[in-house]
Symmetry: C2
Subunit: 327 residues, 2 copies
């Protein structure tokens, strides 16, 4: 029998570009049930229904009251009103996500940008614990960003800050993804999507590599496949990870010069590539950034892997109900 | 007779890439004497002597006690110890500028990054007054940067933050200037030096333009000359300002996506170009940055022109002695 969750859990939801993860999370950030959906829906109603279903599944594993729900969305948001303002990947522009979900679920719902939340979890109990100034890059369909200034999440003048994936690294580069009107953003150069695009291109050029054979066999080229082949020693797959890592390093060199941070965290599935990704990123940053920032900063994977966002959503919900109880 | 300055002035010093400005500044940010040096010296001792001479000249205009000196330097610094850590343009690496000047002058000396100080002055009484989150780009030999977060200057983990001129906008661009090891930084693309470089190149290609005739006549191409010819209607000069303005706009689009600021200030001599520079910068930013940041931010010239840095150095010195008096 699956052990029941202690009373007083919250549900953390991470809404990704292509999937939804909801977790029942206790006060010590222990995860007692995970509900994963591999689609995030094509229109607003479908997105909301998929979130609702995942939250209900996670809630049913809880032997007691679910107190609140936190939701991380890959979008610029109005954190005070719980409205998604602009999403480069999801049909959520102008949608009051928190209010609509609260009506469906009968629970308090709190919302923030997904990468802000990932950074919140990592600062609370992960790889940025103890850092004063920290940055987060989450690599997935796009690149999300989070900024911690003097121990607090920086949101900007309207809650729309920290779109670190939309820093330009190549002003004449390819058009950016989704709804972003820019060119050569870090996101289009170094996200999980960019990894797949570059790997597919190189697979065509190197038909005898493991990557090339995978393409020819009709296996879809995915981030996890590239990482697996690279770990198995395929030079083409390693080359692609090196290219993406160096581009990440270019973006990180800008961030180091701008923020002089203690730590830059990299999260998302591609982190499984380990040093094949991190070493070129660190080398490129060190070759480009100014002292003393370049000598001080650490570039680290998230502790919670691709669950940082879900855990951070739980931290958001927990902090919010604790603040209400204290008020 | 020149009116004497009221008692209790401080001296603000702005150490630029190629010049030094010291001003005797009263409590209301009134400037009573300016001492300008058109060279900043070739080695550390010479730099310090030139600063000392300018401070002494400004001090002699003061009918009463000079209470303190503030110095802005174009360098990453350790603000607590008053040490210049790394300067891309000046022979000051590791030099305890504040201590050495204090010994020479017999006055308390306070130091900070020049663009931080320019932003401090503009926030106190200039174009960023009332802003919560603001950024400053000072265009001169290089590009200095300042960051205001929630009304306070953001310095980063070691006082080295806000090198906004060393954000990459073209990862395969030209090698950056001075001691910067990077490529395609905003500084090498859009500083005053870049303006002169691009103008000289275009003058060669367009011998019949006013810009081309100026080059052929042996007149050195300078930023003020380009601005003057552009205001007089020379298409080549306008084209160069448009190019520099658009590149600035690329960098500002990154800054808007990262910071969601209320205002981005642009300072330095090139601001005299006015809308010939600002219009292309704003157009490029609006075409590239994400909502809602792009619709909220204002891109403005500094109120104090190229005196923001000197005035900010005076604000720094004034605040420091006021804090000492209150302690």
């Amino acid at each position: 029998m699956v052990p029941k969750v202690p009373k007083g859990c919250v549900i953390g939801v991470d809404l990704g570009g292509t999937k939804v993860l909801a977790g029942a999370v206790d006060e010590r950030l222990g995860v007692h049930h995970r509900a994963l959906r591999s689609s995030r829906g094509e229109d607003t109603a479908e997105v909301l229904s998929i979130i609702e279903g995942a939250v209900r599944e996670a809630s049913e594993a809880v032997d007691g009251v679910v107190e609140a729900v936190g939701v991380g969305v890959p979008s610029t948001i109005d954190a005070l009103r719980g409205v998604s303002i602009y999403s480069t990947h999801l049909p959520l522009a102008g949608v009051p996500v928190a209010t609509l979900l609260a009506e469906r679920l009968g629970l308090p719902v709190f919302m923030d940008n997904d990468a802000n939340l990932a950074l919140l979890a990592e600062h609370r109990a992960g790889a940025a614990e103890g850092a004063g100034n920290a940055l987060m890059l989450t690599l997935g369909t796009g690149i999300g960003g989070g900024i911690l200034v003097d121990g607090r999440i920086y949101r900007g003048s309207q809650g729309a800050a920290a779109e670190l994936g939309h820093m330009v690294v190549d002003q004449d580069g390819p058009p950016c993804q989704g709804n972003c009107p820019n060119r050569g953003c870090l996101e289009v150069m170094a996200s999980g999507s960019a990894l797949v695009r570059e790997a597919t291109a190189l697979a065509g050029e190197r038909p005898r590599s493991a990557l090339g054979r995978a393409l020819a066999s009709g296996r879809g080229i995915t981030g996890p496949l590239v990482t697996e082949l690279a770990h198995d020693g395929d030079e083409a797959a390693r080359e692609v990870l090196g290219l993406i890592g160096r581009r990440l390093g270019v973006g990180i060199s800008s961030l180091v010069n701008v923020f002089d941070p203690d730590v830059v965290l990299i999260g998302g599935g591609v982190v499984a590539a380990g040093e094949l990704l991190f070493e070129p990123a660190r080398d490129e940053m060190r070759a480009r950034a100014l002292p003393p920032g370049r000598d001080h900063v650490r570039i680290l994977p998230t502790r919670f892997g691709d669950e940082s966002g879900m855990l951070g959503a739980a931290v958001l919900a927990r902090d919010a109900i604790d603040a209400r109880a204290a008020a």
